[in-house]
């Protein structure tokens, strides 16, 4: 770990401050999806680390194929506030005077790295909830309102799976990525809701909702074709460029039983109701599709 943190002449400017002499180094480790993550930090920063570093997985753990090293350090200046620095493999990612925010960036970087490097699953940026034993997937980038919508669906009775990634196995089943749900209170802060925890069973996807937030938008869902539904997930998959063939095949399996929808949306609570009404109105279509992709002829 120490060796991997060594800096080179090229990245001197970006290199993070070393953990101060005399401060004991604590290393947190976590392994999942074939990736081992280690975070070097100090005693007084240890409490800021996400616990666990990677949310628990229902996927069978295989041998570790890759290791990534992070550092979360603090620099004390004589005449200024302390700076909290996140580094990945010796290269500074962020420096902030806010330890909690720096820790949040660290967590996101760890999750992104696992999503990008694993060969065990396809990671798609999406919120996921379980409904009647099937998965509802809401792909979309950060700040598209996934977490708020997931929270509203959970409040309406759905089971929490993820507000960050849909983890899809080789059979196309959706696994939970149960980090604590994040709800943004204003621009600067996240509010954590303890909906994470023990993983639930993987589910078959039944619905994919490609939604775009627009204040005052009218809910007008249009059904997507299977190809459009697949592209919707592909546009949010993390490692598609590195694993294009596996990703496309996995997403085909995942979307085969699913019904895709597109709409603008406004308020999350109202959208959750509209989603549930739509699902209740069209259960037959999903049942029929779950018989398989081949032979289906949807204009």
């Amino acid at each position: 770990m120490t060796e991997s943190m060594a800096t080179t002449a090229e990245d001197t400017v970006l290199s993070p401050p070393a953990i101060a002499a005399g401060t004991s180094v604590v290393t947190a480790r976590c392994s999942a999806y074939g990736i081992e993550v280690a975070v070097d930090t100090s005693d007084d920063l240890f409490g800021y680390l996400p616990s666990p570093l990677i949310p628990p997985s229902t996927m069978r753990e295989s041998r570790t194929r890759q290791r990534i090293g992070f550092a979360f350090t603090q620099t004390r200046c004589a005449d200024g506030p302390p700076l909290f620095t996140v580094a990945e493999e010796g290269v500074q990612v962020l420096s902030s005077s806010d330890a909690e925010l720096a820790a949040r960036v660290l967590e996101s970087q760890i999750h992104l790295k696992v999503a990008a490097l694993t060969d065990q699953a396809v990671f798609v940026h999406a919120g996921v909830v379980g409904l009647d034993g099937r998965a509802l997937v809401i792909p979309g980038p950060s700040r598209s309102g996934k977490s708020t919508l997931v929270d509203a669906l959970v409040s309406a009775g759905a089971t929490y799976y993820s507000d960050e990634y849909a983890v899809i196995d080789v059979d196309g089943r959706i696994h939970a990525f149960p980090r604590e749900l994040r709800l943004r209170d204003g621009l600067a802060r996240d509010r954590r809701v303890s909906l994470g925890g023990e993983p639930t069973e993987p589910l078959e996807a039944a619905w994919v909702f490609n939604l775009r937030y627009q204040a005052g938008a009218v809910w007008e869902p249009k059904e997507l074709t299977p190809g459009q539904t697949l592209l919707t997930l592909l546009a949010n998959s993390v490692a598609v460029r590195r694993r294009s063939e596996v990703t496309v095949r996995t997403l085909r399996l995942a979307t085969a039983p699913a019904q895709g929808w597109y709409s603008l949306r406004a308020d999350a609570a109202e959208t959750a109701k509209q989603i549930l009404q739509l699902i209740n109105r069209t259960p037959g279509a999903t049942q029929a599709r779950s018989q398989g992709h081949a032979g289906e002829d949807r204009p």
Binding site: R212, Q228, V240, S244
Partner: protein
Amino acid sequence: MKNPRARRNNVVCEDLAAETVLYDRANNRAHSLNRTVGLVWQAADGQRSVEEIAVILHRELGIPADPGVVLLALQDLEGAGLIEEPLPVEARPELLSRREVARKLALAGFSMAMLPAVASIVAPTPAMAASMITAQQAGQDLGTVGTEAYNNPNFLTDPNAITGLSNAQNAYVSGNYNTEIQDLDGVINALGLPPL
């Protein structure tokens, strides 16, 4: 006119029931071809003429054996970078507008679902797909634009479609952006700090 040849090299193909999804590794774009364009992509092997491909469409879909439909599908494939050579100039006068082809299909009693249509997206890099990264938003917008291409089949042939994208999206399309700067901007944005 030289027989059309679709690009298959470096292209991952997944056949759905009524669509074909292609991932082009050469430029990291993904396309969903509707049944008509998918059949033309499969049949355009450099051996068959446009007329012969039209007969295949007639046999498989029941639509009139009209070269205009094939040429429109070839134009869509060309726009998606899935043709080995550009359509020859001499084919252009035969090329009917999408509206004309739609009218002919409608008059013959066929669904608009038979009208050639391609939806395309640019596949994100991990950095683009990351939380809190500005370019990822651009990717999503492109994804949505691609999805909307089915509702607006002129999207890929509309020269304003790409040039009308935001700077971030254009950077995304061209791959001409600095990941570190995008990361930093995204983080600054996520932290609610004023831009540098």
